[in-house]
Symmetry: C2
Subunit: 165 residues, 2 copies
């Protein structure tokens, strides 16, 4: 019996995941999207993956540019995340202070972590593309602070004893 998509979505809402702004720039132009489907793959060579819907405007732009930055968000970026998710494609960088590192993909100045990457391969899986991205440069913020998406809402992660199990 096929899995009900609503049940699957509810199940996935319980898989807590960091919130990221994935950006790109290059011949196909600049683009940014809010993504929680980012995952560490291997440290040899340092590689992460990002899942992006094939119906997202970002998909073809990421493929043509071949570079991307993963901006891992901190708790302080909740409103920025909402603003970017709601913004029209040409207004995604109106909020936040943006810079670049090596590839030219936009990097959020105070991201919890910024990973500047080139796309090493892409796997097509159903409705989504999985971008494997090899890391060319890293910037880690001094403050330990994270923003996760869980139960269809934002939650903040901080490195304080009070929030630990």
């Amino acid at each position: 019996m096929p899995i009900d998509q609503t049940v699957f979505r509810t199940a996935m809402s319980r898989l807590g995941a960091a919130v990221n702004v994935v950006t790109t720039d290059g011949p196909a132009g600049r683009y940014g999207i809010v993504v929680s489907a980012v995952c560490s793959v291997t440290d040899s060579p340092p590689t992460v993956l990002v899942c992006v819907s094939r119906s997202s405007g970002a998909n073809a732009v990421l493929k043509e540019n071949g570079v991307l930055a993963i901006n891992i968000l901190a708790g302080r970026h909740r409103d920025l995340s909402i603003a970017i998710a709601k913004a029209a494609a040409h207004e995604r960088f109106a909020s936040g202070d943006w810079t670049t590192m090596e590839t030219g993909a936009p990097v959020l100045d105070d991201a919890a972590v910024a990973l500047d990457c080139h796309v090493s391969s892409v796997s097509e899986v159903g409705s989504h593309s999985v971008f494997f991205a090899e890391v060319d440069a890293i910037k880690v913020h001094d403050e330990v602070d994270g923003l996760v998406w869980f139960d269809r809402d934002y939650q903040r992660l901080q490195s304080t004893a009070s929030t630990r199990v």
Copy 2:
């Protein structure tokens, strides 16, 4: 300049991620590992991915069995997670109450979510294999509760206003 692996690992420690016990059973035997590298891929068809080191004993077993269960853990499973991560391969199921659903892979009775899956494809990326797993059956716990790995420690996620941003 190549990325320093220590810096990459620190960066990845700031990417909060749900803690899961990924299990399998079949011709190659039963196995279980604690994994945070699990990611939702697409709901058409319902598919998730799991990254597993090629140096892990689980890797070949997962490939031969071709089935796996992803047991998303709740805050109450912190000690279970530590016990499984530390246990010898043949003692991974000594703690917790285990059952099965469709594929025969061990399912944690009170998992936050259990996803019973078959492996639809595998991509090899550096030191790791990425298992794409199509979901055959789902069980979602009544209580909303999550366990995440962040800043090299466990944190609990609950659906309460007090922990929201």
